[in-house]
Subunit: 461 residues, 2 copies
Amino acid sequence: MNFNSLEQSHIDKFVEIVGLERFSTGDSNLELHARDQSHHPASKPEAVIWPVNSTEVSSILRYANDNLIPITGWGAGSSLEGNPIPVLRGVVLDFSRMNHILAVRESDFQADVQPGVIYKDLNTKLRHSGLFFPPDPGARATIGGMIANNASGVKTVRYGSTRANTLRLSVVLASGEILDMGSRSSKTSSGYDLINLFVGSEGTLGIVVEATVRLKGLPAEISAATANFPSVEAAGEAVFEIMRYGLDPASLELLSPECIELINNEKDLGLKVSPTLFMEFHGPLKRYLNEVMDMAEEICGSVGCQDFRPGLATKERDNILSARYELAEMIMRAHPGRSQMVIDVAVPISAYPDIIAMAKSQLQEAGIAGYIFSHAGDGNLHLVFMGKDGDEEEWRIIEQVNENMVKEALSAGGTATGEHGVGIGKRKFMEAEHGIGVELMKKFKSLLDPKGILNPGKLIP
Amino acid sequence: MNFNSLEQSHIDKFVEIVGLERFSTGDSNLELHARDQSHHPASKPEAVIWPVNSTEVSSILRYANDNLIPITGWGAGSSLEGNPIPVLRGVVLDFSRMNHILAVRESDFQADVQPGVIYKDLNTKLRHSGLFFPPDPGARATIGGMIANNASGVKTVRYGSTRANTLRLSVVLASGEILDMGSRSSKTSSGYDLINLFVGSEGTLGIVVEATVRLKGLPAEISAATANFPSVEAAGEAVFEIMRYGLDPASLELLSPECIELINNEKDLGLKVSPTLFMEFHGPLKRYLNEVMDMAEEICGSVGCQDFRPGLATKERDNILSARYELAEMIMRAHPGRSQMVIDVAVPISAYPDIIAMAKSQLQEAGIAGYIFSHAGDGNLHLVFMGKDGDEEEWRIIEQVNENMVKEALSAGGTATGEHGVGIGKRKFMEAEHGIGVELMKKFKSLLDPKGILNPGKLIP
């Protein structure tokens, strides 16, 4: 598809739609929308627009569609697969001014939000009500970005991904049409499910301008523990057994010794440097959680756990969790002049011990700075490499490890991307994962965005 | 679309594909596939085929597509909206011989099944493993039929609908292509979500030939109670409060006095004849469930509950649940010469007290034999009318009540069908519920089934 570069007439039209203050071609603004948190090369858009309502988004898309101008939605830029990098330039729509919580219906366990709402801000606002929006990717992600990527995180093992917590969407199509999908009813069997096609579509089928999300009750009681193991393989076995016994953890995170060292250096938490599981259980009664914790300890012990520390105080627990959230940034800070590549495979839980063992051996063979951590309870493994910028040989090796890991995950019935999305880096695996399903995806793309203006160069191989 | 009637050359080809034994044009077989459990008029297919594998299904669909022969999938015929009635005749594919449980992977909480597996049979087989497939529509439904309708039931309030419990599908498209979708990984962000487009599509986009479903652990403890109220409105208030307080019932069913009378007559359970809530709580510890039950009793008391009976023994509980399952059949037996129309709206839980009040007043105004029962915890209400066969005036009134209820549900942000699907009867409400979304649904239909051979006359208005 041949897109048009931005001309003065285009600029005049966009300014007419949103006004001068919310349109920019200034280089600092273009720079701020040229890269996400991944290693993928930056690419500056030609302009940035900050829409404030769906009518503006509709007018912008209709015009861009008529004039073959690429449109890429932008939440917080915290993605890890180049998902919002405007590789074919055009206009970035930054949703930071559409950040209003429109309604909280506590009794329905629902909230209506604009796409630019930071999910942590929603949860702060909800705290007094005893409710929360559970998908928890860690970064200061926007809910619009989370929907685009079907984001998940440390609490997904119990509370589900963004998909499972999205009830209703209002989406602007490439044509400018506004489409409302879904229902406020907690269940429906009314016609084709459109909403799930847009969740996880990375802004390539339409632009989300409003969402109704599910809320959950904050747990009455939380118990947390750390467990140290002699090897990541042993920790992987413990993960499998904890899930197999149905202990229903609210978090079950694995951290390699290298991650623990970084956390100790930055946070002075004095954690024991060995493969570590962090686990959290939520429930209505402390004594019930104590029994669950006893079972977890027994399971961990049976596969060689050396040190099981239950009953973490709230502060310790929060410190570990916030360190886990900041881990990606810590890793980047520890390796100046290098960029991160996050491998993001996920497998059925029975395949988890094997994939974690493979990750460790691949890391050792590669001989490049790398870190293993994992939303272990979901079978979702991250292997983070810090590749030297410009060192082609290092990046070749890293890419080879990525391919090896994805191939292994797919052969175990898993997925090339558990939560970061396809973006730029995973496009090449789409055919191996989906077979002729990719052809169907291409048809859906052509149907909804025939000129291909929405986030071009992403997701579809 | 003009379809072809079945000619000898078609018959020869189908017999070539499946053999003589699994092809029939015999009238008794056509009769058996002419109606479901709804009031919608019977329509006999021209032939019935019992495929045994996906290759046969693929060959049948490819040939039918080339020769413009309608194809309608058939599970158990237990649907309630005419969903599998072959209104444009053609061939019915009966999946009763594709009823194998292909694999149970206990440690992954997953099972692979063919579409003709009766979900109750799967649960019987799973019992020793401590696992179960939770969607629970009550009838002897097949899993293929449940996927087609996104079925749900008495345990959906806690464990989700069929959609939430389907991980992977293998589907034969109208072209004969076989498409594998989804992942065995418990989460994925890899490309467009195709699987949810097929779940709930009522066999109009493709025919499911294999599925991987999620399993859950059987609860260690179950507590159940009945609560009697002076009015269905008061019972509706109790439902709202139980959900609002987050008591997380595993079942929360409402039965009107008329239903209780029927159950007493047929089952001799001696239940008190008044609006009744049946509730079940699942959990790991009895003493926790006791506390939950105390809260439920307090809530019910605060809105006028006259008789709260906690601690139902297993046998009492099973009796009530199985009576609930058989209720639709009891209603039919009680009204010979009449057919049932089941209204199936669902609303956000805050709108539940109002919709239940409306159902009661509509029922009184109509003056026709009718029953209110409800998957109350989901905000899903059934109002069952038994209309006299051939009495046009009665059916006009019933249809008017249906329209009134749907209109009210939609204006409350709910849905025209909580679990029975669109089928024949709900097509006329699709535009009111989905707006321009219906145009998109039509486009998906054209894309996947351009000749419209798959279950024609259903779902799409």
